[in-house]
Amino acid sequence: MPEGKFCNKKPITTEEDLKALLADKGGKQYYEEMAELEVDTQKLRDALRRTCASRTLTWLEICARCGMCAESCFLYMVNDRDPEQVPAFKIQSTLGEIVRRKGNVDNSFMRRAMEYAWARCTCCNRCGMFCPNGIDTGVMFSYLRGLLYAQGFVPWELKIGAGMHRVYHAQMDVTTDDWLETCEWMVEENREIWPGLDIPVNRQNADIMYTLNAREPKHYPEDVAEAAILFHLAGENWTVPSEGWEQTSLAMFAGDWEACKISVENVYAAIERLKPKRVIGTECGHAHRATVVEGPYWAGRPDGKPPAEYIHYVEWVAEALRTGKLKIDPDKKIREKVTLQDSCNYVRNHGLARYTREIMGYIVEEGCFVEMTPNREYNYCCGGGGGFNGIGLFRAQRNQALKAKRDQIVATKATLVIAPCHNCWDAIRDMEEEYKLGIRWSFLKPLLVSMVLVPEHLGG
């Protein structure tokens, strides 16, 4: 059976197909069909010819097989130094083989490659910093995901995730109405405590357009309220778009580049429409990667930049504290041992380490902030990145992967972990559930709301 009902080479483009695939609980039938799925070797060969160019081919060729990337990979370290977890081995035995065989690979090869691409690499890019030849295995794994996706070899949840972006322009089934209702509801809910609170929708030429993660309106609406409260207290002239507010991209994790383009163009269209001075994205790592770092290229923008200045939430918070737009009540600073999770997506891959450190300086009492080791650019992935958190099939591997971050956190003796990234936050939540560390974890927003001084004219 070449093409399955659920597992096939076609992306999900209709609500109906999406619901049908969702109804296949846990992807039972989906994975059964995958065992039979044929590889279209001609298509694979063509894809290689079109997209596997100088950079990737050179990386694959000049790898010295020296193993200097081994210890850099947290998955190698938490799996008892399994040689099959060395980045160079992982990529050479998957993408490297596909290239050497010119796409002539079979079903079992592709299923193994899928396990490698999604359960043995989170695309954290740490190994690339340790390779003398400058070989970035994480980038190649992301490329491999694209090849696998086009052939239908993708974990069930991510096929759904990419479909969500195509159907709803969001990673979850949040429609424009749902989104606007959430905004209204959050304003009503909080106006009593915060008089004058507003979430201005579609305001033209605002100083700030705010974009977020669909999980927030869907599951954590208080996060939307907190963002509004902080902008309100800071006196910002801000807005949210009714369309193009969703910044994340499960399509990026899935390797569905076409859906990535659709999503990011939707956000950029909102920027073009509302013409804000700049855009601020929520506390999410991969959303930032998708719209600010990779997005411009998916959208075909030759300068590699979004249509307006686009910053991460931590950059805005650092600026607001620096300029005094937000002031912290000295009595409410954090007084317990606290550590900080560096999200690979905007720290290693977008250089924002110093902004989060700056924030710590304002909100944590002297002597209470403890760095993890290693940190900043050299941090380890939380253990759940690149879609790993959400894939049921690889849950056991993911739980094993959490151990690197667990040990880092335990070594700091911190009781609170600040994690300004949805994925990292989830991973730490699951870690607590799995390994019972007795820690708490938090985004920045709720902490800030609990410690800012309310300006006099706003009733403070």
């Binding site: 997209t51 160019a53 100088s54 950079r55 081919l57 050179t58 990386w59 060729e61 000049i62 790898c63 010295a64 097989r65 020296c66 193993g67 200097m68 081994a70 210890e71 850099s72 130094r81 040689p83 099959e84 060395v86 160079a88 081995f89 050479q92 690339g128 910093m129 340790f130 390779c131 003398p132 030849n133 400058g134 070989i135 970035d136 770092v293 990779e294 411009p296 290229y297 998916w298 075909g300 030759p302 300068d303 590699g304 930049k305 290693r348 891959n349 977008h350 250089g351 924002l352 380490a353 110093r354 900043r376 650019e377 050299y378």
Partner: protein
Amino acid sequence: MKQLLAFLAGPGLIAALLIFSCGLTFRLVRYFRGLDWRLDRVAYRPQMSAGMAGGLHSIFRWLLPYGTHGWRSYPLLTLCFFLFHAGLVLLPLFLPGHTVVLEQTVGFSPPSLPQFAGDALTALSLFGGFFLLLRRIALPETRLLGTFGDYALSALVLLVLASGLLARMQATNYDLWLLLHIAAGELTLILAPFTKLSHMVLFFAARWQLGADYAVKRGGHRRGPCFPW
């Protein structure tokens, strides 16, 4: 044998050098021409000056022994790597034995190292290379990674070093060692553009690319003046 030697030291050498230099130049040009801002998702041209600074910095730091986190995390490997490569880069150009041959065949040559420096570099290089080979065999991860080609190329390069040393020591069978040395040396030159030995130029290309990638796209000035390699 004398005839063969004369051939290898004359036209053979010229041919090998031509293949070597044209081949590697071609690889380098093809690499950079093949960089594609859409596929790589790096705006090379519009942000060339940032890219150039980041790229050159990335090359420079990695040429310093213990200059990066990567080198520092494998101290012994790093020592041996730099000993091995110091010889491989300096000896072919500056060894007295080589400058004489180059003078004769090509017509000019770089200045030559004192003989004792050549000998010392050779010994250290052999030591470093030998250790790298041992390490490759001893560690589970490199054993799994290594291909036949990796061993063959390492062995070939070690053979060039060892046979050169034996010839220089005027060991018995001087001619044989010299012949072996020259043949293996020229084979190395000829193979360079076609095997992963091409890393002797593509190292600079790939290092430049990743440095530029971080400077143009993955943070650049937000991070501070340069990437903390």
